[in-house]
């Protein structure tokens, strides 16, 4: 009778293995070849691609930029998402309305909204610069200067994905038990003290989960960049995924882009594992 258990697991497992694992093994093999437009096919060139990669500063720059963008946007999303969740947690009129409103951006298609954001950032016809002018900040060269372009990408990412942090953290807040708050009030703790000694420690596990999910998703960043800046000006907003896309799908250097992909995947897995360990140690504590 328990042999039937395989009926449950195997269909899904086999489909996933077929669709993901074979392409991955294929990528490993291709990364040792010089497959490109002129010589399509699987020859063997050993580690040539890997030594080329070590000297490819454009690749390493894109990784550094990706790290900056990922950590920067996820930190902003976490702080803002937590603040928003606390704001509409309780004691506020129309909280259900604001909760729905705050969730909406994560439901929208990122590339489609990026196209709209591109019109918003437009330096002479877009609505953002007039607004900035009106509040005294002044017009900014949003997409034509590298620092501004990076900021623009971050603004779009924060707009799109803060709602996800908000969702996870609000779900966490709503499932907190009431007793510790009663105890804190009896002890005479103020709101700030209560947050740091009661709320924040109890939110450690869900914070870690939410931050990790966002780090994973943010480290794939490419579509926003593709639509908003095409990696420019120059290569100043080029992320790793986008650089690999240019090498693989535009220059058609299949072999080299496979090498880049594999290295990228390994770097991601290693750094995310380390970050997961550190975050768990910092935030998830068994406080009694």
């Amino acid at each position: 009778m328990y042999r039937q258990k395989y009926v449950f697991l195997l269909p899904g497992l086999l489909v996933l293995v077929a669709i993901i694992v074979f392409p991955l093994l294929f990528t490993i093999r291709v990364s040792f070849s010089s497959w490109d437009v002129y010589n399509p096919g699987l020859n063997w060139i050993g580690g040539e691609n890997f030594s080329r990669l070590m000297a490819d500063s454009r690749y390493w720059d894109s990784l550094g930029r990706l790290a900056l963008l990922t950590v920067g946007t996820v930190t902003l999303q976490y702080v803002l998402g937590f603040a928003l969740a606390l704001l509409v947690w309780r004691d506020i009129a129309a909280r259900r309305f604001f909760r729905v409103l705050f969730l909406v951006p994560m439901m929208t298609t990122p590339v489609v909204m990026s196209v709209i954001w591109r019109t918003i950032f437009h330096e002479s016809l877009g609505p953002l610069n007039p607004i900035l002018d009106a509040i005294g900040i002044g017009a900014q060269p949003w997409l034509s200067q590298s620092g501004h372009a990076l900021a623009a990408v971050m603004i779009v990412e924060v707009w799109q994905w803060t709602p996800f942090m908000f969702l996870m953290l609000l779900a966490g807040l709503l499932s907190l038990p009431g007793e510790p708050y009663l105890a804190a009030r009896i002890d005479g703790a103020g709101p700030i003290r209560t947050f740091f000694s009661v709320t924040f420690p109890m939110m450690g596990a869900i914070s870690t989960g939410a931050i990790l999910i966002r780090l994973i998703e943010a480290s794939k960043l490419m579509e926003t960049v593709y639509v908003l800046t095409s990696g420019g000006p120059g290569t100043s907003t080029e992320t790793t995924s986008y650089y690999i896309y240019i090498r693989g799908m535009r220059d058609f250097q299949i072999g080299y882009s496979a090498t880049l992909s594999l290295t990228y995947l390994i770097v991601m897995i290693v750094s995310l594992t380390v970050i997961a360990k550190v975050l768990t140690r910092l935030l998830v504590k068994d406080r009694t």
Partner: protein, 281 residues
């Protein structure tokens, strides 16, 4: 700080963020009624007063001049998203039930490792899979076809379905299954007759996440199709250039993001009833 200042600051913060959330949508809405003159006239918001509204952008969605006919891409997107979500949900729910109720062992590999294998696929950047997928679909003759896209999307959505459903089944007590087994039901009959009808809340959450991620994907639809089976986001991004017709673009964006924006209401309902606490852990 007294209570009034505190409350004023709180509402101010909520309103500022609300404006940040809403303004892009308002901009999109108002732009969709503009013409070339309305756009080059600068950043205006109010129709009739600041610019002469026109339906040109909206007409272009159905083959009118100056835009792109999105009817076909829209249908394609609906078909791919719903089929891939349904398939992933079916495969994912079965696998999740198996992983939550039975013990699997292969050498050092245990249930937890298999679950992790499913979920860890989300770490894979799309670009790593793009070229192998391209060659795989080309070999199978599925490039630029709906079945090819559905196949790829199942790989993207299956981990999400497994993730939500394993969590869900783990929170359902095993008493229900055991009673059915004692009555002589086989596990398969138990699953379909007893478990599935009780798993609707989990299925709704998992299905919703599948639909969101399926509908919103761009990269695979972009790299694995050419012209025959364009999906909606691809046809909208195709409008994106230095001479973009902003009105057509905005109208297309409106009809693309509207159906899922409604899902925010569903999510909030689950949130307020505490139904997401288990599912989004």
């Amino acid at each position: 700080m007294n209570r009034t200042t505190y409350l004023a600051l709180k509402y101010l913060a909520v309103l500022v963020w609300s404006a940040f959330v809403v303004l892009p949508f308002l901009w999109m809405l108002t732009t969709s009624f503009k013409t070339a003159n309305g756009v080059t006239g600068g950043a205006t918001w109010v129709p009739w007063l600041q610019y002469e509204p026109s339906m040109a952008g909206w007409k272009s969605l159905f083959g009118g001049p100056g835009g792109i006919n999105i009817v076909r891409p829209y249908i394609n997107s609906v078909v791919v998203t719903l089929s891939a979500s349904a398939l992933s949900l079916a495969l994912g729910t079965l696998a999740a039930y198996g992983l939550s109720r039975f013990t699997f062992r292969a050498g050092p590999i245990r249930n937890g490792d298999i679950t992790f294998f499913f979920i860890s696929q989300r770490i894979m950047p799309p670009i790593v899979l793009a070229i192998p997928f391209f060659l795989m679909l080309k070999t199978l003759g599925l490039l630029d076809t709906l079945p090819g896209l559905i196949l790829v999307y199942v790989a993207l959505l299956l981990p999400i379905a497994v993730w939500v459903m394993v969590d869900f089944f783990n929170s359902v007590p095993r008493g229900l299954d055991e009673m059915a087994w004692m009555d002589g039901c086989t596990p398969i009959i138990t699953f379909f007759r007893v478990i599935l009808p009780n798993a609707v809340p989990g299925l709704v959450v998992a299905g919703m996440f599948c639909i969101i991620f399926g509908w919103n994907d761009f990269f695979f639809a972009f790299t694995l199709t050419f012209t025959k089976t364009q999906l909606l986001p691809v046809s909208i991004v195709a409008l994106n250039s230095s001479v973009t017709p902003w009105w057509a673009l905005s109208a297309a964006a409106m009809v693309s993001v509207a159906p899922l924006a409604v899902l925010a209401f569903v999510v909030e309902r689950f949130l307020s009833r505490g139904g997401l606490a288990g599912a989004v852990r």
